[in-house]
């Protein structure tokens, strides 16, 4: 916990410095998101009897201070709040708060000039089941370009880290008790194509290498492959969370965004998550999400 608080403190200080130092030339902006999702394998299990179908209602709010760093660079720093309520596994429901900061620089003049962006975030998530409480950190670098008024492509590299707040009771000697402490590195690409004034097709792909958490009932195969184990009562009294390292996850997302106005949109996406760990410990999940977005 100490390390997590220390990192959060440094990040908080950095964000506060950015906000205050630029306060004279900055403006506030906000974004609200609310939606519904359905996940056909929330437990990220291999065996069909361990796969849990979950639905969730979620909300996200951003409040940022945006400011200019020279003629071509805009930066932002602010606060992010999240809440997600899962059903039927309400124990996985969580509320989170965090900080984010980033900068975007255009490499030229005009709508088709390429751009680069750096983003970082850190926060804390408090779940109904304490074992899932965690600090989250992420950083990403993105390079993007608009080719026509309708078509834009971007891609980059991201790092994510999640630090479980407290170790669970040791289940097996020699195994870690923080299966929710994971990290990974991803390459990602995104594209959007506007079909008209309102509709836009969106697509994304990501390849992630790193740790994953799979929650299942007792299972010898996963037990031998895991390096951290803990009870996962959020998903059921007989479920265990196993951390598997060296996993490769391919994520493909497709969807459509429907502009409700210049400040709001309704977005529907379908995401397919394929994870390969080795030794037959592969799993797949399909997630449907419907999100309302409002930006001010």
């Amino acid at each position: 916990m100490g390390k997590g608080v220390g990192r959060s403190g440094v990040f908080l200080l950095g964000v506060a410095t950015l906000v205050l130092s630029a306060s004279a030339r900055a403006q506030w902006s906000s974004q609200l998101e609310a939606g519904y999702l359905h996940d056909d394998n929330f437990s990220r299990a291999q065996r069909s009897e361990d796969k849990l179908r979950e639905s969730a209602l979620f909300g996200r709010g951003l409040l940022t201070r945006d400011f200019a760093l020279g003629a071509d660079t805009e930066a932002h720093a602010g606060l992010e709040g999240r809440v997600t309520r899962y059903s039927p596994s309400n124990g996985a429901s969580f509320a989170g708060i965090g900080l984010l900061a980033g900068a975007r620089r255009k490499l030229g003049l005009g709508a088709t000039a390429p751009w680069v962006a750096l983003d970082a975030s850190g926060g804390y998530e408090n779940a109904r089941e304490d074992v899932r409480d965690a600090y989250r950190y992420s950083a990403a670098g993105t390079l993007g370009k608009r080719f026509t008024p309708q078509f834009e492509v971007s891609g980059g590299f991201a790092y994510d880290r999640r630090v479980q707040r407290e170790a669970a009771e040791e289940e097996v000697p020699g195994y870690g008790a923080k299966p929710f402490s994971v990290q990974g590195r991803s390459w990602f690409a995104r594209a959007s194509y506007a079909l008209g004034e309102r509709a836009a097709l969106i697509g994304a792909a990501a390849l992630r290498r790193g740790d994953v958490v799979s929650s299942t009932r007792r299972n010898f195969g996963i037990f031998t492959a895991a390096n951290a184990i803990a009870d996962d009562p959020a998903l059921g009294p007989d479920f265990y969370a196993y951390r598997l390292s060296g996993a490769r996850t391919t994520t493909l997302t497709g969807g459509i965004s429907w502009a409700l106005g210049v400040r709001s949109a309704l977005e529907g996406t379908l995401t397919k998550d394929d994870t390969t760990v080795g030794g037959g410990l592969d799993y797949r999940a399909v997630i449907f999400a419907l999100t309302y977005v409002y930006r001010r």
Binding site: R146, S192, G196
Partner: protein, 213 residues
């Protein structure tokens, strides 16, 4: 008063007393009125020496250019006041006028002078969806249509004019016609233009990201 000057003054009085008007209505291929079309009348005898060009304005309000289409006389200075509480970076790559007003709030101290006739497309380097147009007319006789598709040019000297219509979404080049205006005439004309769909950069926000796609 010397003789050439006397003739010039008399000519001006004559034109002022018998000025002609041109009332144009612009409709698209479906018959709907077209807003933001520029109607320009160029006298075949040559445009009179324009009066001193006046200062024009294209504002930025709600992260859009207002008006979206601004017709001006060649040589006119245009200021670009930013009425928003965010910074804008206005630029143009158009051959008729290339310029760049780096990030600013309020009104830039120096207006931009548009000294070449033609169409100048405006953009904002921060808000890519912002697009606007300055139509720089070589003739002082022009008007922009309102929501009802109509535009009136008044106080025109009698004579023969080449009249043309321009709009950002025109499928083809500017459409032109000739029109003879008699002294005191009030000429009505209706245009049918073929417009292509407007293609703009999307402004609506995206989930999980700050800002639009």
């Amino acid at each position: 008063m010397n003789r050439p000057l006397a003739i010039a003054v008399l000519s001006t009085l004559s034109i002022g007393g018998m000025a002609a008007d041109l009332h144009a209505v612009v409709r698209d291929q479906k018959g709907d009125p077209v807003a933001d079309a520029v109607v320009i009348a160029v006298p075949e005898a040559g445009a009179p020496r324009p009066a001193r060009a006046k200062l024009e304005q294209v504002e930025q309000i709600g992260e859009e250019f207002v008006p979206k289409v601004k017709a001006i006389l060649v040589g006119s200075p245009v200021s670009f006041p930013n009425r928003d509480n965010v910074r804008h970076h206005v630029y143009s790559f158009s051959p008729a006028k290339r310029f760049d007003l780096p990030l600013y709030v309020g009104t830039p101290a120096k207006p931009v002078v548009f000294d070449t006739p033609g169409v100048v497309t405006l953009g904002c380097n921060i808000h890519d969806w912002m697009i606007g147009y300055v139509y720089v007319s070589e003739s002082p006789y022009f008007a922009t249509t309102g929501k009802d598709g109509s535009a009136s040019i008044t106080g025109m000297p009698s004579g023969t004019y080449t009249v043309r219509v321009w709009h950002p979404q025109l499928v083809d080049a500017e459409e032109t016609t000739r029109r003879k205006l008699d002294p005191g005439a009030s000429e009505a004309m209706e245009w049918r233009v073929a417009l292509k769909p407007e293609v703009r950069i999307r402004r609506a926000p995206a989930a999980g990201r700050r800002g639009p796609y």
